[in-house]
């Protein structure tokens, strides 16, 4: 689990570089390159399915990567992270349907609402440890799901937010245009990943790893563990809500399934599939799961069996996610080459 050992030689106690500027320049370049590549994709392959696939990857990828900030970096196994995905979708959808504010305003307002909800729920949840944290987050998720189902006058109950989400153009961007929606989703994805990467590599990010590895020790050296956990809980919620907003824009609606616990379960599964010790592991997992889902659903009606067997392969056979496996394999090979 220790990223320090895997990534930076055998010096587990190495003090993280506080001056992270060179790395940040590199991250900026990678992010720009990734965005340009994604933006050029429609010119190379014009198929609508491919663009749809990338938009879905953006929504789930932001969600899964933000979940990994909790699971992989902080050791907080949240079973209710999907509630923020659902809140983002419903908050944004409702705001656009009921108020008619411009899209950027609704975007910011949805994040502000998510912030408030996440602070309240997080303050309660992060007091608990391990399995109890998992359960209380699950309970909050289901509480929100039940509220969405029962508050029919506002949310449409089990029918979901129907009638479409209005998407008035802003700043020359028209999100009802498929290509504009695609580029915007890619931009949100790249910006979101870049920001999360900066959080993970910051001194605060290393504080999180320390809490994961030894919370008692962290509190002995004067770290306010509760505050650090709450901060990352809230930050992760904001990125998950962004994923939810992309999803709401994509399907032009919001459905109770977006807030159901299975979304959280899938998020965890994506993380395990891709790997939790590398930053891009969850993105790899997202692509894998979506491809797997699409192909298996097309091939057989019993896609639970196929998916289950794949999970078993990772959990019992490989014992780690794909990116973890690849990174370790390379590290081992390098070690053998030298020694």
């Amino acid at each position: 689990m220790t990223e320090l050992q895997a990534g930076q030689g055998a010096q587990p106690l190495e003090v993280p570089r506080i001056d992270a500027r060179p790395q940040r320049y590199r991250d900026v370049l990678i992010a720009l390159a990734a965005f340009v590549l994604l933006a050029l994709l429609p010119m190379a392959f014009g198929s609508k399915q491919l663009l749809d696939f990338v938009i879905r990857c953006a929504a789930y990828g932001l969600f899964a990567t933000s979940l990994n900030l909790l699971v992989g970096y902080t050791g907080l196994i949240s079973f209710g992270h999907g509630m923020f995905f659902g809140l983002g979708a419903y908050g944004f959808g409702l705001m656009m349907q009921k108020t008619g504010v411009p899209i950027p305003v609704a975007f910011v307002a949805t994040l502000a609402m998510t912030f408030v909800v996440a602070v309240v729920i997080g303050a309660i949840c992060v007091r608990l440890k391990e399995i109890y944290f998992a359960f209380v987050t699950l309970a909050f998720q289901m509480l929100i799901h039940s509220t969405i189902l029962s508050w029919q006058s506002l949310t449409g109950g089990d029918q979901g937010l129907r009638g479409g989400i209005p998407r008035p153009p802003f700043l020359g961007i028209d999100l009802s245009n498929h290509l504009h929606l695609y580029i915007t989703s890619c931009a949100l994805l790249v910006i979101g990943l870049f920001l999360m990467r900066q959080i993970a590599q910051s001194p605060f990010g290393y504080t999180l790893r320390m809490i994961r590895d030894n919370a008692t020790r962290a509190s002995f050296i004067g770290i306010d563990v509760w505050r650090a956990k709450l901060t990352i809980f809230v930050l992760a919620a904001l990125f998950a809500a962004t994923g939810g907003i992309i999803m709401a824009l994509f399907v032009s609606g919001a459905y109770p399934e977006f807030a159901y616990w299975t979304i959280s379960g899938e998020g965890i599964f994506i993380n395990m599939l891709g790997g939790v010790t590398t930053f891009l592991g969850p993105m790899v997992g997202t692509v894998l799961l979506l491809i797997l889902n699409d192909t298996v659903t097309r091939l057989t009606e019993y896609h639970g069996i196929v998916l289950g067997i794949v999970i078993l392969f990772f959990a019992i056979g490989l014992r780690k996610g794909l990116m973890d496996f690849v990174v370790e394999w390379f590290a081992q090979r390098r070690g053998e080459g030298r020694g």
């Binding site: 109890y132 359960f135 289901m142 639970g304 067997i309």
Partner: protein, 300 residues
Amino acid sequence: MDLDALASCLSSPACLVTQTTSGLIIGMLLFLVAVGLTLIFGVLKVVNFSHGAFYMFGAYFAMTAYQLTGSFALAILSGAVGTALLGLIFERAFMSRVYGRDVLMQLLVCYAFVLIFDDVVRMIWGPEFRSMGMPAAFQVPPLFIAGGVVPPYYLLLIGVALVAAAVLGLGLARSRIGKVIRAAAHNPGMVSALGINTGLIYGGVFALGGMLAGLAGALAAPVRSLTPGMGFSVLIESFIVTVIGGMGSILGALIGALLIGLIRSFGSLGFPLFTEGLMYLFMVIVLVSRPTGLFGKEVA
């Protein structure tokens, strides 16, 4: 929200009896599932996320046995024994490979089997709703207590659950095998060093837990409809029960199950759409005030 309905029921003895009985039924079935879950967690330290599947298999085994033989006793028996065997195989073949590893890996193995088991049931028994029907012996007029309706089958159900609770509680507390199980929960290394096969104990406890869930499913088969995925809502509810009662506590599972049963039964009158929400709300309140549940011992 319909608080008038709730208030008028609370002031009517007939309605009180009817609602309390249905709450007890929900509670007793939940107890049987939850006590297996709590037992497995207490001894193996594994959160068995696939526990709902054993409830589902119990119901389907019972239905099939009943349709083949026409004997209700055989139906219940095959539900219980079938799931016990299934639990034993599942534990030895898969769960035993992930003990002591990441909690996530254990959850993932269970999650995989939730998906697989649901599809297996769909393959064998079909995707549509099935029903076992009430056995002829219980197709008798209901009892009336203070004007409230109490079907005789409900009494059998409550009786069986109470007997199971007593046998389990006394067995664990008094019998030799119960002491060995508790010792294995406390210190498996020591128990193993004393020459006792801990693998056998783990398999046995998992089978016992699966059997209790299967028994609940078999008992529920005459009064509920059967469908692939039916185990899932039961699983979530029995999680709530174990968490409220305290993971690993049998008494806690009993109290928690009864509380949830009554909340569901009376809540459905006052808050028809938010009945499930009430359970989660209750769980949040309990966890916030007592992080380890009402009867949990360890400090979180």
